[in-house]
């Protein structure tokens, strides 16, 4: 057996996505929540590349490329927002950033 079933790649992608969701929901540090989002984006990229392989179409690679570009832009803006929040409130805990709740 030298061939890997394609379903293993998709299952791995689902596992990574679920771990990203768990981190997003359970962590309390803004930076770690942000890293969980990156983990979810990576899991989706793996699905795109796997389907691209299965369908023998290069389009999935292009979508992965665009997801990477958007993730890089999102990381730059998001980290700038984190810097601003820390400057104004001196905390990185998401439970302490609750102005919109009041």
């Amino acid at each position: 057996m030298t061939e890997v079933p394609i379903s293993w790649f998709l299952t791995l992608s689902a596992v990574l996505f679920a771990l990203g969701v768990a981190g997003f929901l359970f962590r309390r540090s803004i930076i770690t929540v942000f890293m969980s989002i990156e983990l979810m984006l990576n899991a989706v990229n793996l699905s795109f590349v796997t389907f691209s392989y299965q369908l023998r179409q290069v389009n999935g690679h292009l979508f992965t490329f665009f997801v990477m570009v958007v993730a890089a832009a999102e990381a730059a803006v998001g980290l700038a927002i984190i810097l601003t929040v820390f400057k104004n409130r001196s905390t990185l805990n998401i439970d302490d950033v609750d102005t919109m709740k009041d």
């Binding site: 689902a14 990203g20 990229n45 690679h61 292009l62 570009v69 439970d95």
Partner: protein, 175 residues
């Protein structure tokens, strides 16, 4: 051989991803996330996506994670304070997650029959079949500059806006 390669890097990816979620210090999470991205790059190579594997290492593991670690060090972020969670969450969380993933694995297995499988180097071997060079920088570049030319140009605009936004957000207030 391919199965061993897949299993080694899939296990590294899953263990590192669990480490991202359970570590309390942001730096440990960030380094684990670099591990996830590196092993995903190897899996992309296994799927014949050379260009995407290179971009994964350069853009994600290189640029984005350096930005993360830079901000963690700039803000001197310490370990997270543990909050007491409800008994229900502590007892049921992990078993329910495992049950959910088991169901997902079962249905994915059902949907994708055994016939479809991946083997390494399918598009790079000798012979000139139609799919030769699939996933190489040449093939991806051709699609990028013909079919996807408009999204590609819009992407440059997006990055310009992101740069301006980051500068506006992070600079000192002009009082």
């Amino acid at each position: 051989m391919d199965v061993v390669l897949f299993l080694v890097f899939a296990i590294i990816a899953v263990v590192a991803a669990i480490n991202v979620v359970v570590q309390t210090h942001p730096i440990s999470s960030a380094v684990s996330l670099i591990g996830v991205m590196g092993s995903l790059a190897v899996l992309y190579l296994l799927l014949g996506a050379e260009f995407i594997a290179a971009a994964q290492v350069i853009v994600y593991a290189g640029a984005v994670m350096v930005l993360f670690i830079f901000v963690i060090m700039l803000l001197n972020a310490g370990a997270e304070i543990k909050r007491g969670r409800s008994i229900m969450v502590q007892l049921l969380g992990v078993p329910l997650l495992i049950a959910f993933l088991g169901l997902v694995a079962y249905f994915v297995e059902r949907l994708f029959p055994k016939g479809v499988s991946v083997h390494f180097g399918e598009f790079t071997g000798p012979g000139d079949h139609a799919l030769h060079g699939f996933g190489s920088a040449q093939a991806v570049g051709r699609a990028l500059f013909t079919t996807y030319l408009l999204p590609f140009e819009v992407t440059s605009l997006l990055i310009l806006i992101a740069i301006l936004g980051a500068i506006v957000l992070a600079r000192k207030e002009l009082d």
